[in-house]
Subunit: 147 residues, 2 copies
DNA sequence: TTCCTTGCAAAGTGTTTGCATTTGT
DNA sequence: ACAAATGCAAACACTTTGCAAGGAA
């Protein structure tokens, strides 16, 4: 946990930016809720508990910065706002998928990458150099089944 | 072509709605550009050529109506606006995927459904009843390769 | 008439930007 | 002191909504 923060600090410094107190707070909130896919507003609300004077714009700017440094990336579950998640958006570093329950809105992560074969086929057939993919599966989750 | 329109007309009428002249125009524009994934604004601009007095709100309302009737559905390519495509969003009727070129922004459709095995596995492992999925593959398209 | 549709403008929602002030070094 | 970061409010982009006017049955 602490190491993640100092790792981010190093990466920012290497790019002539720094991990200010506000940015660290944003980062911590993201870390502590890394299972939740928070939106900017949600991050803002959590952050405000510890720094009530903090502005929403600062949260957006921190999120943008973290994205530039490939520390987080945005995902879109179709609810009209961006949500954030650790890991680079580019590259094949961190492939996982989301099961989205259309009843309760809950999101489950599937942490294996299940698409290698498929990617190889598509890549060959369409002469398309794949750098990333995004799979969202919609349906009814275990808890909501049978309700 | 004509049959698609009268089919839509029938479906709307069955649900106590009707295919007005404006709505038909929206539908036609969508049909004539079914390869393009138009946004609301793009539909609006095309529609205005034939009906200059038409308002943007009417386009949005027509698109919403068509979605309710599962005639079209919205997709999000992460550019901040919704784009529309024929076919139901629910159900396993019409599964295809999108190759999104990160260089030129071009979108290629992959019309086979390649995910059956994967769905079966996920469904079993997570007790998740799948109703739909969405796969976006990012990379460099054939034309942009080597530029 | 009655009900639905439409155009227009206003309101909403999520995000970004301009600018004066504050902070860190 | 200087550059970068921040809070605030205004601006933005896309979408939705309220309402009065228009049209079809």
């Amino acid at each position: 946990m602490k190491n993640v923060i100092s790792d981010v600090e190093d990466r920012l410094r290497a790019g002539d930016s720094k991990l200010t107190a506000r940015r660290e707070l944003v980062l911590k909130v993201l870390l502590e809720n890394s299972d939740k896919h928070l939106s900017a507003e949600e991050v803002y609300n959590l952050v405000k508990r510890r720094a009530p004077e903090m502005g929403l714009a600062t949260v957006y700017r921190a999120l943008e910065l973290f994205q530039e440094f490939d520390i987080i990336h945005a995902i879109d579950f179709g609810d009209g706002r961006k949500r954030y998640e650790f890991g680079s958006g580019k590259g094949k570093i961190h492939h996982h998928h989301h099961l989205i329950c259309t009843k309760c809105g809950g999101i489950t992560e599937v942490n294996e990458d299940l698409l290698e074969d498929l990617e190889n086929r598509v890549s060959r057939q369409h002469h398309f150099t794949i750098t990333d993919h995004q799979l969202k599966i919609f349906g009814i989750c275990r808890q909501c089944t049978g309700k």
